[in-house]
């Protein structure tokens, strides 16, 4: 697993790679919490290289989305691989987690 976080002023870009194990999820949650503490309210998750996600990972994304909504912020998930996309569809979370396609186009919306 690899979490790549880029500090772009308008939003936070996370690139999630491979798969998220228990330690990775804790690390991801900590990074999100830290950024929210400093006022970040827009998060873009590039999941084009994330080939596995479980309910624990989804729970963190749901929790983050709920918290961000309180501050008029939100997160988006961009370019899921087929298996992860199926999982999001199965959980009926595509809309809530704002599934998008095309990283460049998505980023343009924030700038």
């Amino acid at each position: 697993m690899k979490i790549v976080s880029n500090n772009i002023p308008e939003f936070n870009l996370f690139e999630l790679i491979d798969r998220l194990n228990q330690d990775d999820l804790i690390e991801l949650e900590n990074q999100i919490t830290d950024k929210m503490k400093y006022g970040s309210k827009y998060f873009v998750f590039d999941i084009s290289k994330l080939n596995y996600l479980n309910s624990s990972g989804l729970r963190i994304l749901i929790k983050t989305q709920k918290q961000l909504k309180l501050f008029d912020g939100y997160l988006v998930l961009v370019d899921p691989m087929e298996n992860v996309k199926s999982l999001l569809e199965l959980s009926e979370l595509e809309e809530f987690l704002k599934l998008r396609y095309g990283l460049k186009e998505t980023i343009k919306d924030f700038i």
């Binding site: 596995y52 479980n54 309910s55 624990s56 989804l58 729970r59 909504k69 087929e82 999982l87 979370l93």
Partner: protein, 141 residues
């Protein structure tokens, strides 16, 4: 697959990382597609992590989860046996799919929802302080 393959897991959550290699190996042997391997991996991870986190009253070397995998006709059959507290997944509430918004729903239950949605058949038995959960996956889906 000619015979049943069996794998043991202790009550340590670090054990979960073994699943990926096990499912990949069996999947390759059986010619399973990526979708089936993903489903099996996810279902087993949800079940095992739930048992490890909540099923055992105390950490103990006797806490063992046994996963047996076999192929019967077009079905992949998995039996999960453990000595954790009784847990019948069929009686558990899953994610609310009644049209409530996510904000209104309880976040818990997603794992159970995935297990029920990704399997074609589930049977639960409690025998002599052991849970036996039998799961079936359609091999051709």
């Amino acid at each position: 697959m000619e015979k049943t393959k069996t794998y043991n897991f202790t009550d340590n959550i670090e054990e979960i990382v073994k699943l990926e290699a096990i499912v990949d190996s069996i999947g390759e042997e059986l010619g399973a597609n990526d979708k089936l391997k993903f489903s099996v991996n996810l279902v087993l991870e949800e079940l095992l992590s739930n048992t490890i986190f909540y099923g055992f009253k105390v950490k103990d070397v006797s806490n063992i989860i046994t996963v047996s995998i076999s192929k019967q006709s077009n079905e992949l059959i998995i039996v999960v046996k453990d000595n954790a507290i009784a847990f019948n997944i069929l009686e558990q509430e899953q994610k609310d799919m009644t049209g409530k918004s996510v904000e209104q729903q309880k976040v818990g239950g997603l794992g159970i929802h995935f297990v029920k949605k990704l399997t074609t058949f589930i049977k639960y038995k409690r025998i002599n302080e052991f849970n036996y959960l039998t799961l079936s996956f359609n091999f051709n889906e």
